[in-house]
């Protein structure tokens, strides 16, 4: 397995979301990071409704109460603890989860070895 550094945990305020680049190719999707206490959830930043990013402006997300997020494009609402769509036009879909780990106060993405 390969570990890719994403950000420092302290740079993510509790209850906040951040957008992190994760691919080198042009047009590669970004990651959506959400911190809840000492836990960080990460998802591919792509709404399953129209395969668009959840935000329309870089780094700006429509966070709602109870750990939910609304897609800025067509208002699909997802739970951030498991990515499940709970309202809006994306139906019974789920955000694609990305495995992350926190080590020594740093957030890493876990991915397969390259090559």
């Amino acid at each position: 397995m390969q570990w890719q550094w994403l950000c420092a945990l302290e740079s993510l305020p509790d209850g906040a979301c951040a957008e992190i680049s994760c691919g080198k190719e042009e047009g590669a999707p970004t990651l959506l990071l959400y911190r809840s206490g000492l836990e960080v959830k990460a998802f591919i930043n792509c709404c399953p409704h129209f395969s668009l990013p959840l935000n329309s402006r870089p780094g700006e997300f429509l966070l709602m109460s109870e750990g939910r997020i609304m897609c800025a494009h067509h208002c699909a609402v997802f739970r951030l603890h498991d990515g499940q769509c709970v309202d809006g036009p994306a139906g019974n879909t789920v955000l694609e989860r990305v495995h992350v780990e926190i080590r020594d106060g740093q957030v890493y993405q876990c991915g397969p070895e390259e090559g």
Binding site: P13, F50, L52, E60, M64
Partner: protein, 336 residues
């Protein structure tokens, strides 16, 4: 980064009216009320109390699309006066802005709301004003006239129907299901002659999940809604959104990008107007097999004399509205 979540938007509503049973709602400087026949939007301009009245069924059909589509692409005009513009994260609500007689006199009103706030209010209006038995998604022949009269129950099951989407294509493993009797999609009364045969696929071993096909005609013959595209293929930013249409598109859609229309069966008449002024620009009769590009600077409304099949081809590339607004892209795909 978002440090604080939006507070759950509070919907401002009155108690149920003692005569009609309907609640009234306020959103910013707008007030929404309904009675047995009509929906009414009120606002203040230049110190004068203004209002605009729509038939309640037309209002509910339009509101249903705006809610189900999440304010869609660009402008959703309920009629020539009232509508919304999706600013993607925020939504503009206007009355009279694109109606010259009002806007020239400064008697129109436009306000911008956070998407969660206006969505919560619109859903509450739709839930309260839709009576039991009335389905705003259905063709008139397929639903009751219970939109009329005093409040009688609700129809949550109909108005909370999910728009059908897919990751790649319906019928693939782990993707949306194809429509069948067994999962609640009987063949529509207008499409009883459509073949239900599905293509046979012979994929090379190892490519079983890569090669797929289904009968789009059979899929559409089982559509249970009108004027409500579902997503039936996703290839990069290219989305095929087929739909079945009957009677009148309940809104005038103002594009913020080019939309391609492919008429798959029967006919639809389209009235095309200038997006900003509503001035007539064209009338288009699309017959089966016809293809049209709806420009990015128009609004359109369709009339389908019998249920017909239409493929709407959407370009979901991020940043398109800005490219059209700035003039970087022309509003039409080709020049003659």
């Amino acid at each position: 980064m978002n440090a604080q979540p939006h507070n759950e938007p509070l919907v401002k509503a009155t108690p149920a009216d003692s005569l009609t049973g309907y609640r009234s709602f306020s959103l910013g400087g707008f007030t929404f009320t309904r009675d047995e026949y009509f929906a009414r939007v009120s606002w203040t301009a230049k110190g004068r109390q203004m209002s605009h009245t729509l038939s309640a069924d037309a209002f509910l059909r339009a509101m249903m699309r705006d809610v189900a589509w999440g304010f869609f692409y660009g402008w959703v005009n309920f009629d020539a006066m009232l509508g919304t513009r999706n600013l993607y994260g925020k939504v503009e609500l206007y009355c009279g802005r694109y109606y010259k007689a009002y806007s020239d006199q400064g008697l129109d009103r436009t306000e911008v709301f956070d998407s969660p706030q206006i969505m919560a209010t619109f859903k509450a209006i739709l839930e309260d004003w839709t009576n039991e038995g009335f389905d705003p998604f259905a063709a008139p022949d397929e639903t009751s006239k219970s939109w009329l009269g005093k409040k009688r129950g609700n129809n949550r099951g109909a108005i909370e129907r999910e728009r059908q989407v897919c990751k790649r294509m319906p019928g693939l493993a782990g993707d949306a299901e194809l429509r069948k009797d067994a999962n609640g999609y009987p063949v529509n009364r207008a499409f009883s002659d459509v073949s239900q045969e599905e293509p046979v696929i012979h994929a090379e071993p190892g490519f079983e999940n890569e090669v797929h096909a289904f009968s789009l005609f059979a899929y559409l013959s089982r559509s249970d809604v009108t004027w409500n595209p579902s997503v039936s293929s996703v290839c990069g930013k290219s989305l095929f959104c087929p739909t079945t249409e009957e009677y009148i598109l309940p809104i005038k859609h103002g594009n913020d990008r080019v939309e391609w229309f492919i008429q798959l069966s029967d006919e639809i008449e389209w009235e095309i107007e200038d997006k900003n002024t509503g001035a007539p620009r064209a009338k288009v009769l699309m017959k089966a097999g016809d293809v049209a590009a709806m420009p990015a600077d128009i609004r359109h409304q369709g009339y389908s004399h019998k249920r017909s099949m239409l493929l709407v081809w959407e370009n979901a590339t991020a940043g398109l509205p800005e490219m059209y607004e700035s003039g970087k892209l022309k509003p039409y795909p080709i020049e003659f």
